[in-house]
Structure formats: C-alpha cells, structure tokens
C-alpha cells in the first residue's frame, strides 16, 4: 500500500532508489530494490549479514555502481559514480571502522576532506576558522570535546561523534550510520540517540543500520527489512507498531520463537574458582567460581574490566594478584599456552584481530590450538587433520564449500563458529566467551546460543561476557555484574530484571537484605 503512495509523492523524498540491482560474480547482492528516504526521518535497515544492507549503502554513497536502476536525489536523477559525487550532494557515511587520523587533532580531522585556506599569496590552512567552526559544530551536537585534543586520546564514542561532525561541516542531507552502537556503551548510546534526534530536527535524514533490534525500535521511524538481496518490506513503525518477534520473522523468513533456547541442568563440580583476582588498576578483588554445566554471565559497562578479567584468566596479561584454582588445584597462569593446557579457552571479543588468522584456511585455523595432537613423530598427519576438520565443520554447521576455504570469506557467524570449533578441538573445559554474538546476524546468534547450551550439557563451564542485557538474562545461570573494576554483585538468574543489572552496572547499590 505504501508503495502506491510513494509513486504519487516522488518529489517529497530526499532520496529515492528505483529498481536497483547489483551482482557480484555468483551472488545477486541486490535484486530490484526500491527504497526511499523522507527528509528528517530515521530509516533503519535490518537484515541478516549478507542480506544486502551494506551493498545498498555503498550504492547510495557512490562506492558501488549499480548494474541497473536509478537514483533520484531531491527529485532529480543522479549518478553517483564516485564517493565524492555523493558527498558533494550531502550524503555521508560513518562506517564501523572510522576514517580518522589518530595523530591529528579533532578539528584537523573534522576538516580532513575540505580544508579551508586563507591568505592572498601564500595559501595556508585557516586554523582559526577550523577551531571556531569545529567548536560550533560540536556545541550544536551538545558534546564537550576539545577541538584541540588529539583523536588518539579521545574515547571511541567521541571518535564516532567526530566522524559525525565531519559530515556536518558541509551541508549534510543524508547521514548513514553503519552499526554505530556496536562499539559504544549503553550510556553513550543514549547520547548518540539525542544527537540523532537533533539532526532529525534540522531536517537531516538518517539511514541507520544495526543488529540490535531493541534500539532500532527506540530510534527508527521506518524500518526496511532485507533478506538475500531482496527488500522484504518497509514498516512504518510510528504508524503501525510491530513487535520484535514480527520483525525477526520478516528478517529470517521464519519465526524464531526461541531466541534464547532454555537449558536448565543441575550444575556439576566446580571447575574454576578465583579469589581476590586483581590486575593493577584495571580490576581488583574479583572472586567467583564456575561449575561444570553452568553459564556464568558477566555484565557491566564497557570499561568495567570484564575483558581484562578474561584475558588475565587466559594468561594474556601475566602478573595478576589473587589465587586461581582449576579442577580444585591451585594454579598460576602465565601464558595462553599454559591456560590451554589447563583446559581454559577464550573466544575473544575481536574476532578479526584476535580470534582468527584471516588469510588462513578454515582447516589451519581449526587446528591451530591443538596442533600437536595431529602429529606422529612431530609430523602432521594430513588425513587425520582433514577428517577431524570435516567432522567439526559438519557438527558445527559451518556453511562453507570446503575446509580449504579462507576464513575471511565466511560470514561473521560462521567465523565465530570456527573460533569456537578451534577450542572444541583443543578439548577446552572452561570456555570464556567475550561478546560472543557481536556483529553476527540473528540466525547465527541462535546457533551460537544452541552451541553454548550443548557445551554446557557436555559438562563444560562457560563464562559469558556480554553487553547485551537480553543475552545475559537469556543465557546465564548466574550473573556477575562488574562496575569500575570491582565485582558489584552476583545474582542467580531467576526473575532478575534488566533494571537490576543496569543499576549494579552503574554502581547504584540498593539496600536489600
């Protein structure tokens, strides 16, 4: 119905795409896509990885040229053959990976693309103007960042705002935000949303991509759902509210009624116990234990020291204080090598730079942590490796044409499964997941959850660090909340509310018995 309406009001759109198709060799990345953007709206794009969201924004921003279809900007037909062509019309993208020069100041970065010059004979950079204008823009956004500060010294959230400020230097009509909240904390997200609303009031249209559906409901006016390169639907959520479950079923084409598959089993013996664990200023006095068949969720804000606790247990940062027991035996862990020997493993937060060797095949990534078990007399046994890897790929449902495929060519969800499989081959008994589902799509998330439950059933002890409260509440048996490097509380996951966790995470203590 909304489609017929759109034909009549073509000129009301700031941006309109008609019949856009784009093909990459074997894959039809976009198939006959119609998309429109109203001035001042927040239009969210959702879909699993590989659904076509990224290709669409790259087409809008001029990075890709569509095979067919037309783009209208302000009612006028345009061709964005290069990114600069789109930028000149006021279309900017803030990607997940920032394009900032860390060694330069905030003001320098804001004016990186269009440097103002002054002087009649000798043209020089107009530093004065850059400072005042930067200050203005940042003030408009309502943030207190010193334009003189070096970008490398400011927080990730501020870097993101500098990216946004960069877009506002020139008349910005369309701002595309690609997974903006993946890297920032819940509190910072609140600030980001305020800024988005301010921009909206100024008439800037926002295309918002995120995997976090809850926040999409908070911010979006309309939601367009993609699946396998096709546009499934555009929902006007301000007019007709939909539920998260309805949205998910649009995204995956089936209903996922059990996003967090329940798995209650009695806990077994204690596999890991730490007492008064501390490391410099990062965290101190952390005590907890994990049992076989149990998931301990660790919640807290970014910077609360959760990842640092994980890295310490895994021996990445030796020299900790406190005591650690594995299987009832006291140990001191000084290297990942040793941690692995004790049956501890870490599925790190940053899959790309810490979890996998991107240029390696699936096979070589899989055997990396258990290399010695495939050797006879110090020499690899290829048949044994192939067989074990193929079995593992099948058991983990890793979607690939074969074990020789480079992991960089897999989707985020499948990459994560390779990381987990690597630890299963190393026979890990205590598995620490640091943000296990960050940046992977809804379908793959559920698979990761199922996998965690299976590990649990097979008697593994799991520690799960997560910033997603739903995930913590959905998966954990017990929850430890951290705040500024200390343990804020420990809760049995039974009727715990999001609010309770948030309160502990932000250091507000209740007086309860």
């Amino acid at each position: 119905m909304s489609d017929t309406a759109s034909l009549e009001q073509t000129t009301d759109y700031i941006l309109e795409l008609k019949g856009i198709s784009k093909r990459f060799q074997q894959t039809q990345a976009l198939h006959n896509i119609d998309f429109d953007l109203i001035p001042g709206e927040v239009h969210a794009l959702v879909g699993e990885n590989g659904a076509g969201k990224s290709t669409l924004i790259k087409t809008i921003s001029g990075a890709y040229h569509p095979d067919s279809g037309t783009i209208f900007f302000n009612g006028e037909q345009v061709v964005f053959d290069r990114p600069i062509a789109a930028q000149n019309r006021g279309i900017s993208v803030v990607y997940q990976e920032f394009n900032l020069v860390p060694q330069l100041s905030v003001a320098d970065n804001i004016f990186l693309r269009h440097q103002p010059v002054t002087g009649t004979f000798v043209k020089r950079l107009d530093k004065q103007y850059m400072m005042t204008r930067s200050r203005e823009i940042l003030k408009e956004l309502g943030v207190h960042i010193d334009p003189k500060a070096l970008v490398k010294n400011i927080s990730v959230a501020y870097k993101q705002l500098v990216e946004i400020a960069k877009s506002l230097v020139w008349d910005c009509k369309v701002l595309i935000l690609d997974e903006p909240t993946a890297v920032i904390t819940t509190e910072e997200t609140v600030l980001l949303f305020e800024i988005i609303r301010k921009l909206q009031q100024k008439g800037v249209s926002i295309i918002y991509i995120s995997h976090r559906l809850e926040e999409i409901f908070k911010i979006a006016d309309r939601i367009t759902v993609f699946r396998d390169g096709e546009k499934i639907t555009t929902l006007d959520v301000r007019r007709d509210p939909v539920t998260i479950d309805q949205l998910i079923s649009h995204m995956v084409g089936r209903s996922l009624n059990e996003q967090y598959p329940p798995c209650k089993i009695p806990a077994g013996e204690e596999l890991l116990k730490v007492e008064s664990l501390g490391y410099g200023k990062l965290f101190h006095d952390i005590s907890f234990s994990v049992h076989a068949g149990e998931i301990l969720g660790i919640s807290g804000l970014v910077g609360a020291g959760r990842t640092e606790v994980a890295k310490t247990l895994f021996g990445v940062t030796p020299g900790q204080e406190g005591r650690i027991w594995v299987n009832g035996r006291e140990v001191s862990i000084t290297s990942p090598e040793q941690a692995i020997g004790l049956g501890i493993s870490l599925v790190p937060e940053d899959r790309k730079s810490e979890g996998l060797i991107q240029m390696f095949s699936i096979k070589n990534n899989l055997i990396l942590a258990s290399q010695k078990t495939y050797t006879r007399g110090g020499v690899f046994q290829p048949q044994m490796i192939i067989q074990k890897c193929q079995n593992m790929v099948k058991a983990m449902n890793i979607r690939t044409s074969g074990i020789e495929k480079q992991v960089s060519q897999l989707s985020g969800g499948n990459q994560q499964k390779v990381v987990i499989a690597k630890w299963l081959l190393a026979e890990a008994k205590i598995i620490i997941f640091d943000e296990p589902t960050r940046g992977i799509d809804v379908g793959a998330k559920v698979e990761v959850y199922r996998l965690m439950n299976e590990l649990k059933k097979s008697g593994a002890a799991i520690i799960m660090i997560s910033s997603e409260l739903n995930e913590i509440l959905g998966m954990s048996d017990r929850i430890m909340v951290m705040h500024e490097g200390t343990k804020s509380c420990e809760l049995v996951n039974d009727q715990v509310s999001q609010e309770t966790i948030m309160r502990h995470a932000s250091g507000v203590r209740e007086v309860t018995v």
Partner: protein
C-alpha cells in the same frame, strides 16, 4: 567430458592458483627468460652453463632460505651478509693462521651463525624492537667484529674440506647445489608438515591471534632466527670454499640479494604467505638473468639496473594478480 570431471579439474586449477599463484608467475617468468636467452645466445642452453648458473645461485639461495622464514613471520633481517662474513672470515682466519681443524672450523662457523641468530631473536622478542632496526644495527656490529678479529686481512688457502664445500663435485653436480637442494628439502618439510611451520605462518598472518591460540610466539621467533643464523653461517662457509679465501668484507650486500630472491619468489613482505621453493626459483631467476647478461656482454652496471627492474616488476605482477583475484 562429463561435467563432474570438469568441476574436479576446475577445483584443482583453483587450488593450484590459490596456493601457488605467486610462485607460478615467477616460474613463468623464469621459463620466458630462459627461452629468450637461448634464442639470443646459443651458449646459454648448454649443460655446462646451466650447472654454472645453479652453482652461482647457490650461495644466494642458501642465504635467502633463512630469509624466507623470517619474512613469512613478517620480519626482516638486514644482517645476513655480515653474519656470513662474521662466521666465514673468523673461521677462515683461525684455520689458515692457527691451523684450526677444518671439522671444528665447520662447527665453529655454524655455531657463530646460530649465535648471531639467537642474539637477534632475543633482542627482538624480549626488548620488542622491530627486526628492521635490530638487524640494521647488528649488520654493522658483525661486520665490524669480523674486520677487527681478522685485522682486515685476507686468509688464503683454506683446508681441502672447506674448498670441497664450495668447489667440489659429486658426479657432474657441484657440492653447493647439492647442499642447496638438501637444505631446501628440509626447510620445505618443516614449513609444510610440522606444527613449527604452521606456527611460523600463523605468526606472520596474525601474531595476536597466534598468541591467543596458545602458540609461544617468542620461542618460535627465536628459533627461527637461530635457524636463519645457522644457514647464514653455512652460506659463509660455502662462499669461503668457492673463493678459497676469507676476509672481513666478504658477502657485502648479500642481504639485498637474499631479500630480492624471497620477494621475487612470491613471499609476501606482509607475512603469513610464501613457500621456500618460490625463493629458490627467485634466486635462480636472478642467477639466470646475471648469467645471460654476462653472455650477452652487457655491462655490470646495466645488470644492476635489470635486477632492480625485475624486483619491482615481479612484485607488481603479483600485486596486480592479487587485486584481480579479489
């Protein structure tokens, strides 16, 4: 032909291109070069000349072998030539002037080489300075020590055994060529078939991820530098045998030839990729080029220009091929 068969062939072709694409272009270049040279000069394609090319390439091949390991981990070593001189000239000096037993001499040269590798490896891993800087320094240190120890003199007339290493023949095959084939075979085995080899690639591919997968990165690196030092010492010995003399200034500039052979052989300077046979082809290609240009009476100055162009050309072709693949 059945479609299944075609699919299999296609998969096979893709696998070869995927794994050895960089090396294939080097082999193709070598063949083309040989064809051109055999047309231009009848003397090129004779058994005697081919053997002499292989002989001339052998020392560079040996030095470039250790370099391949180092470059696969994403590091570099600028001290190879100096280490060869350090190990070779001190040993030669002791054998000629003090009558050191040649077998002990061989042991000494290999130990000195390994020791330099151990020191480089420890400095790089424990202090954490880049290999480029560490070996830039040690390049000067080992050369200086070699010159100081030998007093800048040349030691002529080495024992027969050492001469045999550089000038001997087994049947029609020169001993240095045999040594080259042996060390390459062992190295290829280590890189391709052992956990140590996989760890080497892993460190070059992503050091952090390798560390977090339980690989003892420091230990692997130190061992690699030791291995590299050992091979540099061996290169110094063979060179000494070829020259039947040693001096502190021997093997000057050899590090650049070694790096060039590795790069022409398709090993990525960014690490994580490369095979030793590629380096051997690279070293032979440089040997063929020099030999051919000599036969054609091209001046050594033009030869330098040609070698330089080949390096840039080889890497350009490889980088174009990679961007084309993506």
């Amino acid at each position: 032909m059945s479609s299944a068969r075609i699919e299999t062939l296609k998969a096979y072709k893709n696998r070869i291109q995927g794994a050895y694409g960089s090396q294939l272009s080097t082999v193709a270049a070598l063949i083309v070069l040989c064809l051109i040279l055999s047309i231009l000069t009848p003397r090129f394609l004779t058994t005697g000349n081919i053997i002499s090319v292989l002989l001339q390439s052998s020392i560079n091949s040996i030095l470039a072998l250790g370099m391949t390991f180092i470059i696969i981990t994403g590091n570099i070593d600028l001290a190879v030539g100096s280490v060869a001189a350090f190990a070779g000239s001190i040993t030669g000096f002791l054998m000629v002037n003090y009558g050191l037993n040649p077998f002990l001499g061989i042991l000494l040269a290999l130990s000195l080489g390994t020791l330099t590798g151990l020191i480089s490896g420890l400095v790089i891993t424990s202090i954490g300075i880049p290999a480029f800087i560490a070996t830039l320094g040690s390049m000067s240190v080992w050369r200086g020590l070699a010159l100081q120890f030998t007093g800048g003199s040349t030691s002529f007339g080495l024992p027969e055994i050492i001469k045999y290493l550089g000038q001997g023949y087994v049947g029609p095959i020169p001993v240095p060529v045999i040594i080259t084939v042996i060390v390459y075979s062992i190295a290829s085995f280590i890189l391709g078939k052992t956990p140590f080899g996989l760890s080497t690639y892993a460190i070059g591919g992503n050091e952090q991820a390798a560390h977090l997968s339980g690989i003892n990165v420091k230990s692997v690196k130190v061992k690699l530098f030791c291995l590299h030092g050992f091979l540099s010492g061996l290169g110094g010995l063979v060179l000494a045998g070829r020259l039947n003399s040693t001096m502190g200034v021997m093997a000057t500039g050899y590090e650049l030839d070694a790096i060039a052979a590795v790069v022409i052989g398709g090993t990525s300077m960014f690490g994580g990729e490369g095979i030793v046979w590629g380096t051997l082809v690279g070293a032979v290609l440089m040997g063929v080029l020099r030999n051919g240009l000599n036969l054609l009476h091209v001046s050594p100055y033009w030869q330098m220009v040609a070698i330089g162009l080949v390096i840039v050309f080889a890497v350009s072709v490889d980088s174009l091929r990679r961007s084309f693949d993506e």
